[in-house]
Each structure stands twice: as C-alpha cells, then as structure tokens.
C-alpha cells in the first residue's frame, strides 16, 4: 500500500499535481487536486491548450510521448490518477 496524503494522493500523484500547477500556473494547491476527478471540462477546467503543455512537460520530465491516436487517451486524461498510471507505465526507466 502506497502512502497517501490527506487528499488521497499518492506521492507520485502529488509530484504530477505539482507539475501541473506549476506548468499551467493554476491557482490551487497541488494537494487539493482530487486524484479521481476529471482534469478537463468540469473538474479542473483544463482545455486543449493545457493538454499540449501537459504532453510537453511529461515528455521532458519522464520521456513519455503522448499520442492522440492512443485508444487509452480518454482514460489517460480522465483524472490525475489515470494520467499518473499512464506515465508510470510508459516512462523511460
């Protein structure tokens, strides 16, 4: 069992949440991003410009290149948790 923060984030989710907040200049505390809620549209309110920024920063930090023809995309971007799972699965070792 991984250690979870107060908001139920794993340490890696907190790391990615911090990356999102910094990259996108979001006015929330990283720890306040609920790991299971949508990042786009209603939830955190991100849009396609943010998706490009996220893809770039994830590539720079973890060597994982996002693709829009990935059938898992709807899942990958559905929440902080699924984004983190995709990064951990695909990151360069």
């Amino acid at each position: 069992m991984e250690e979870r923060s107060l908001s139920d984030q794993t340490p890696f989710e907190t790391e990615i949440a911090q990356l999102l907040v910094t990259t996108l200049n979001l006015k929330v505390e990283p720890g306040e991003i609920p790991p299971s809620e949508p990042l786009f549209g209603e939830g955190l309110g991100l849009d396609s410009i943010d998706a490009l920024e996220i893809a770039l920063v994830i590539h720079q930090h973890y060597g994982y290149k996002l693709r829009s023809d990935d059938p898992d995309n709807a899942t990958i971007f559905s929440s902080l948790r699924s984004l983190c799972e995709a990064i951990q699965k695909n990151r360069e070792q």
Partner: protein
Amino acid sequence: MGSVINSNIMTHSPLLGPYQPHSTVAWFNGTSMSADMVLSHVSLIRNQLPHKRYVINMCQDRYAFLIGFAAALCHNQTTLLPPNPSPEIMQQLIHEYPDCFYLTDGQEEIAGLEGITLNLDTNPDHTGMENPQFPDSYVAAIAFTSGTTGTPRPNPKTWGSMVQIAQKTGESLPLSQGKPVTVVATVPHQHMYGLETTIMLPLQKGWAIHSGRPFFPEDIASTLEEQPSPRMLVSTPIHLRACVLAHSRFPEVTYTLSATAPLPTQLAKQVEELLQTTIVEIYGFAEAGTIATRQPIRENHWTLLPELTLESQTDGHAVNTPYFPEPVLIPDTIQPTNIQQFTLEGRPTHLINIGGHRASLDALNLSLLSIDGVVDGVFYMPEEKEESITRLVAFVVAPGETVESILSALRTKIASVFLPRPVYLIETLPRNHTGKFLRKDAEALIREQPSHARSPNQAINP
C-alpha cells in the same frame, strides 16, 4: 464597384478546381479517395439531407466535414460556422436560424435539434455525379464572430469569395510547379482559417486533404510521415512551438502555414530547420477571411493577396476586394507601407487572442454580467508573456455565489479558453469616476489576493 456582386450572379465556380476523376482529393482512414469517390459520397449524402435551409456541420473528421459541406451546397443549403460550440451559442443560432439541422460523424451532437449522422466508408457506390458548379453569389457559409454585444454576428461567405480567396492564397505561396501537395492540419475546419486552408485551398488547387487532425507533436510527426511528399502542414504558433520543444523526428515538410497569432521569428527559424520547410504566415479575420501573407523569417511586412486594396477610414484601415460588397474594417492596427503591403502594429486593447481564439472583452464582460447573482464583474488580461499562454482572470462581485457556480455558468456561455484563471471574488470593484476599471487597480487586486500557485518559472524536480 457597387454592381460587382450583381455582375457575379451568372458566374459559377466548380467544387473541385482542377478535376481529374482518378486523382486523390483526400486521404480518409488511410485510403486515397479519388475525385470520383468524393463526388459519389457527396451525391449519396445529398440525398439523405432534410429540406432545411441551414446546416451546422459538427463533423470532427475533415473528410466527413468536406462531404457534408459539399452535399449541403448541392442541396442549396448554407453551412453555419459557430464561433464556438458552447450550448448557449448553439441555442442562439438555432433561435436565429430555426430552419436548421446538424450534421455529425457521430462524435458531437446538439440537443433538441434534428441531426443526420454521416456514415462514410472508403468504398462508396459509384453515382456518376459530375463536378458540381455553384453560383459565385451563393452564400455557402456564414461565419459567426462573437461580436461586442454577446450575440454571434453573422459574416456571410459567398461561394465565389471562398473560391477567390483559395485561388489567391495559392498564388501567393512560394510553390514550385509539380506534384500535388498533401495537406495535414492541426487546426479545426469549422473556423475560417481552417476552412479556407484545409478544405477550400486543396479543393481549388487539386491537392489532397488529410482527414485527421493530429494534436500532439508525436501525432503530427507520424501523420506527416505517412503522407506522400510534397507535404503541407497547416498549424498555429502553439502547435509549432510544441513540435519544436518535443524534439520529435519530422519528415521534410515542403510548406508550413501558420495563423491565428503572430509567430515569433526565433520560433519560425526553429520550425524551418526542424521541418526543412518554408513557413508562410497567413493574416486574416472572420469578417474578411485571409487577406495577406508573409514569410516571417524574410520579411516584417505583410503582402495583400492579389487584387486586394487598403483604404483608410476614420476608425482604422479597411480592406477591399472585387468579391466583397463593401470594404471590411481590419480589427488590428496596421501601418500601410505601400499600396500592397502593411505592418501589424498590434490590436486594440479591448480585443484579446488566446491560443488563436479571439474575443472582445466587452462581449466576455456581458456574458459574466448576465449570470444570475453577479452584481458586477470584469475580465482582465494580465500582461502577456511570450514563453507561455496567458489566461484571463475575472474580478467578480457576487454575494452568496461561489467560484465554482460562476465558472459553471460561464462554461455554458463562452469558449473554454476564455474561462478565467482564476476568478477573484471581491466585495466591490474599484471603478473610477467614469465607471472605468483601471489596469493599475487590477494589478493591485491580483497582488492582494492569496495565491497558492508558485511562479510558473520555478523549476521542480521530477
């Protein structure tokens, strides 16, 4: 000049500029669609269309959009191009144009409106339809701008003007004669820039249209790789910047078009190197479409498309063409350098551009003030930085409301790129004696608010 439109009544222009039955018009799901197959799809879909006057074409696939657009023309229908797909805009359009239906390829729908789903396969029954001709004076599309009143403002586009712009844009590109170009685009086709460069330009030049819309740099690279050379990429500074930063491997892209926002010279150089390409920037706006081009590395000035002229007016400059009924005011501040060229001096402060989406602050403010519970409020654009996309913020006086409730209401009214980050809920808005909200007061308010975010430039360790 007033009779120019009338003199066009009897002239027609074809759907496909050069028409060769077996040449590739589009790449759809990896299959080459010949002119004959495209025309077969058009006639098959035309027969499925309802007897309505207007159509909102929601097709996300570029090939499906093309077929729907052409079928609607054949059926004497006019395609409506909403400024954004927010529910409120759609309801306003349906209210203004009740004799209307929508087309979809299954990905989008409009609640409460009759819809037709295009089911296209890569092997349509041959119908023997000939290359259709449409009257140049026919209003093929109406592009809407958000306007300053909050109500979408219609900009009718005649078929003749769309054909002329495509041909003249083609003439202004540094093209060498030879094999037809395949056009890959990251931009949507429901806006004038996308419609003109990714649908009309290839149709009129006899080029091939790639049906997809690659988004991430890796997609853009692999989609280009899959196309035959010569290739053209139609994109925006945001996507081109992402391509440069991603260090993906790109094939040679003979031509790259960029529009929606100024392309910094340094970025233009990097793109030309990375894609082994010649970049041409397009300048236009929904009211007039494309009016000028330039090669950003080689020239600072913009050159008007052939036969366009500038006119000085009391409130700025206008552009005139043989295909406009009257001169069209240019929304940016320009400085003519000679009869065919000008430099861009910036845009008026009430107009904003975020990632290529333009809006007027007045219209956004009206949307904000129309929310139940909002007593006062304004949108404010912080100072823009080149290295990242700057978003709007909003100062809102709304006792009893929450940031979430205001964002939720705004989401139904304005495009998501304009949603404020963040919303500052305040007790009163400091307006001066003339009711104006000043920049220095906005900056002071931002400084006063508790900010949780770190500076975007602060490095973090992975």
